[in-house]
């Protein structure tokens, strides 16, 4: 291991079930970087440290490196690649491959969480609309993955894999609310989800589908959604 920095040099402000925080946890694990994990109880309120570290968005995850904050999950992952160049990188070296990886990670960012939320927040027409969109998203990602073991292709487990993997425990909830099966709509994605779920960095960063489903129940109660 290259880095001799103590674990107190890296601190992650996070929320246990956040897929965005989990991306960072996966990256840190892939790089075998020790860090201090700090749970922000978002349902109770935001800590002063969080508000000061990310005043623009007031969101987790926040990575503090030597006290300096880095915000936005995908930006943090790129930062880890660049600040710790002797560790396994998530982005490939080739500029064109990097552009493709950024494009697809951006696609996951723009589409998956928002559409998934609408599946459990709404009923009737808006929910049906969300379902149609989710199927479209899964099929699009299926086409991109193709027969590759990982989205990273020749590079192996990469940036897009880390970006999308945290959503795999949410599939069960999407399936329940949307009444579809990922394995039927996008079998390659389902197989990838299983594969990626067994990877050590991912397995230790994610929570079970049941826990995610229960969490959605808590959110619905909190926001008064039937």
């Amino acid at each position: 291991m290259a880095s001799e920095k103590s674990s107190s040099d890296l601190t992650l402000l996070d929320f246990w079930v956040s897929p965005f925080g989990q991306r960072v946890r996966i990256a840190l694990a892939e790089k075998s970087l020790p860090y201090e994990y700090v749970e922000e109880d978002l349902l109770a309120g935001k800590s002063d440290r969080l508000l000061q570290s990310n005043p623009a968005h007031k969101k987790i995850p926040v990575l503090l490196h030597g006290g300096k904050p880095v915000n936005e999950s995908l930006i943090i992952v790129q930062y880890l690649d660049e600040a710790f160049p002797d560790t396994p990188s998530l982005l490939p070296a080739d500029p064109y491959a990097r552009a493709q990886a950024r494009f697809w990670a951006d696609y996951v960012d723009k589409k998956v969480y928002d559409c998934g939320s609408r599946l459990w927040k709404f009923k009737g027409e808006p929910q049906a609309q969300a379902k149609a969109e989710m199927l479209e998203i899964l099929k699009t990602l299926e086409t991109e993955l193709g027969d590759k073991e990982f989205f990273g292709g020749e590079h192996g487990f990469g940036f897009v894999d880390a970006a999308f993997a945290p959503f795999t425990p949410w599939f069960m909830s999407y399936e329940k609310y949307g009444e579809f099966k990922v394995a039927e709509v996008a079998p390659k994605i389902a197989a990838w989800a299983e594969r990626v779920g067994k990877r050590e960095s991912v397995a230790k960063s994610l929570y079970s589908p049941d826990k995610v489903y229960d969490f959605i129940g808590v959110l619905k109660q909190k926001y008064g959604i039937e």
Partner: protein
């Protein structure tokens, strides 16, 4: 530029996202073929190059497509490191800060400003305007931090954030003229106001930014079309 480097930009002149790419190419001193797309009748090349979003801009480098304006801008910086200035610092933390603010322009400024003129109700629109000015205040602070006393978000020379925000300049200037309200207000956001003027004077910016009057004409035509469509649907 290396021999055999073929750059083609599929774009539409009013799009701030297309302008970002033109700015990056301009600042790097890269020549390219500009292909003007009719967005009402998209070319086969555009649709096949960007099947996921079917949007401009698309940059084709030796025939290989790159999509999404800020992905393209970073690609240009990384694929042509030897050519022209770098748009990003070499320091990882400064790079992360730049990426953060470049994304902030999209997440907060573009979103709110679009709401300010496309909002469904007057209330929606004025909420958009309020959030837009809040975002500009935040960007004023960002400029103070990032510029370190120099003229640009990139410091002494333009960087990623300058390109991200610069792409919007013609639209914002046109909106200013049409509404009569200053967007880059020298009292509220003095650093940004000075930045806007300074940026517009750059040779690279002059090449890429659409002419303000042409922009005003375009927006007015669009608004007239939207009004006519709304009136027709109410008959």
């Amino acid at each position: 530029m290396a021999a055999g480097d073929d750059l083609k930009l599929l774009g539409a002149w009013p799009s701030p996202f297309v302008v970002r790419v033109k700015l990056a190419l301009s600042f790097k001193g890269l020549s390219f073929e500009n292909v003007e797309e009719d967005l009402g009748n998209k070319s086969e090349l555009l649709v096949s190059s960007n099947p996921v979003h079917k949007k401009v801009p698309v940059l084709l480098h030796n025939g290989k497509p790159i999509c999404e304006s800020m992905v393209i801008v970073q690609y240009i910086d990384e694929a042509f490191t030897g050519t022209g200035p770098s748009l990003l610092s070499s320091d990882p933390h400064e790079r992360a800060i730049a990426r953060f603010w470049a994304a902030y322009v999209d997440d907060k400024l573009v979103t709110s400003w679009v709401q300010s003129f496309r909002g469904k109700t007057e209330e929606d629109k004025s909420e958009g305007t309020k959030q837009m000015f809040a975002a500009l205040q935040t960007l004023e602070g960002a400029l103070r931090e990032c510029s370190k006393g120099e003229g640009y978000f990139g410091g002494e020379s333009v960087g990623l954030v300058d390109v991200s925000l610069g792409g919007l300049l013609s639209w914002l200037n046109a909106t200013e003229e049409m509404s009569g309200t200053k967007i880059f207000d020298p009292v509220k956001t003095p650093l940004l106001a000075a930045w806007a003027e300074r940026f517009s004077e750059l040779d690279g910016a002059k090449l890429a930014l659409p002419d303000k009057d042409r922009m005003v004409e375009f927006i007015q035509k669009r608004q007239a079309q939207a009004a006519a469509a709304a009136a027709a649907s109410q008959k």
